[in-house]
């Protein structure tokens, strides 16, 4: 379970977030510029909050009072970026196994064959990511994050850069991910229908403030 209570600055803009997220998809829902991505970045450890505390499964990842700030590479949090950020010099397989390969074998909870099958990536393994469509790239990005066997999966508008047809293509994969992988997933989106279809719980973000509600 993720427990978060932080204040983060993005320039002059103050973002406050206090909520918990358990197994299944929790949506952070709100308009562009409301601070959703800033919250995800703070959880991933890429942005340092101003103050507060972040805990994952009881482990403290960030605590301003105790001066704890675990580096992103030690947080065991997988991130799927809106802009995918696949490594252009590696094959699809190289991308998928990037996190997996540096994980101690006893920490590997996800099997490459399972993830590749679930996301139907087998035909693409030898290709370079740049030669894939946006939707296919996003599936690779999801697989890559999943194969680092995270304790939490962050998804930052994974469908936002895709057109309607590609969105429809990838939604079933996200549903499979939700139903087959027992993980807390924090899903950022500004699309109401997407959130309604995927999330079991919705947290509204507006003007840098977080308010909990039910989807």
């Amino acid at each position: 379970m993720l427990e978060i209570d932080i204040v983060t600055l993005r320039g002059e803009f103050v973002v406050e977030a206090r909520f918990t997220a358990d197994r299944g998809i929790t949506a952070l829902f709100g308009p562009s510029g409301s601070g959703k991505t800033t919250i995800l970045s703070a959880i991933a450890g890429v942005v340092r909050p101003r103050q507060g505390q972040i805990k994952l499964d009881g482990r403290v990842l960030y605590d301003s009072a105790a001066n704890i700030d675990i580096a992103p590479e030690h947080r065991r949090i997988g991130t799927v970026f809106q802009d995918r950020r696949l490594f252009p010099h590696l094959s699809v397989e190289g991308n998928l196994l990037f996190g997996y390969n540096q994980l101690a074998p006893n920490l590997r909870t996800q099997k490459p064959t399972d993830v590749i099958a679930m996301l139907e990536l087998l035909p693409f393994l030898d290709r370079k990511p740049m030669s894939l469509s946006g939707g296919e790239q996003q599936r690779v990005a999801i697989g890559r994050a999943l194969l680092m066997s995270p304790q939490l999966l962050l998804m930052d508008e994974p469908l936002a850069s895709l057109d309607a047809r590609r969105k429809a293509e990838i939604l079933p994969y996200l549903e499979r991910l939700r139903d087959q992988v027992s993980l807390p997933i924090l899903y950022v989106s500004h699309d109401e229908r997407e959130v309604a279809r995927l999330a079991k719980r919705t947290i509204a973000v507006a003007d840098g403030r977080v308010a909990e509600g039910r989807a």
Partner: protein
């Protein structure tokens, strides 16, 4: 084919040796400087950047003169090398390497800096979230993505070092077999009444090597990975 004399071959071989050593010796410094210039903001950065580029625009004879002052037997660095290590570089081929390395450094640093700057830092961030520490991220993401530019910069710098003339002849003079590199050999031939045809042959060699180097560098630069992803239209 070109019917080169043993002295010509000696000059070509010496130029290749000086070029290769100057690249090997300057590579770590150039990469360090390029990385810092590409990634770190600090006071007087334009000044540091200009100082590295200086040999590119300074009259080479000035660079050679200052090398002579610094590395000569009584120069501050030359004295240390001589008394502590028993090494003299003035009028030695090793001195030619130093001159060539300094003259080639700007090209190397510029090429490397651009290639490091072209690496998308969001990819490095992604690597960090995937469990790679800073060093691993450097070796698995930053270095491979900037490698074509690093090689291109090294090759251009090699070509520059291979043909270095002004600073070299000022610093280490013109000693056959020791410091008479290809361009200095051409210069020496032009000083003799019947040397024109021999000078022409060596000049053709210089043109060929320079061309090959530039073509290789150009091909490598084209291989710099495009980090922009395909549009989805």
């Amino acid at each position: 084919m070109l019917d080169l004399s043993p002295a010509d071959l000696e000059a070509i071989a010496l130029s290749l040796k000086v070029g290769a050593w100057s690249v090997v010796c300057s590579l770590p410094f150039a990469f360090g400087l390029a990385y810092v210039l590409a990634r770190v903001e600090f006071a007087f950065k334009p000044v540091v950047s200009a100082a590295i580029l200086l040999p590119l625009v300074l009259p080479p004879v000035v660079t050679g003169f200052f090398l002579l002052l610094a590395f000569g037997k009584n120069g501050p660095i030359g004295e240390i090398l001589d008394q502590w290590f028993g090494i003299t570089v003035a009028f030695k081929w090793t001195g030619a390497v130093i001159a060539a390395a300094i003259m080639g450094l700007p090209l190397m640093v510029m090429g490397m800096r651009i290639s490091i700057e072209s690496v998308d830092r969001r990819l490095e961030m992604a690597a960090r979230t995937l469990g790679a520490g800073p060093w691993r991220t450097f070796f698995t993401v930053t270095l491979p993505l900037s490698l074509p530019g690093i090689l291109a910069g090294s090759i251009l710098s090699f070509a520059r070092s291979f043909g270095e003339f002004g600073a070299t002849i000022t610093f280490v003079s013109n000693i056959p077999g020791e410091t008479r590199t290809l361009p200095i050999a051409i210069y020496a031939l032009l000083q003799t009444p019947s040397g024109d045809s021999a000078a022409l042959k060596l000049s053709l060699v210089a043109i060929a090597i320079a061309l090959i180097a530039i073509v290789i560098a150009e091909v490598l630069n084209r291989r710099l990975p495009k980090t922009h992803e395909r549009d989805d239209a």
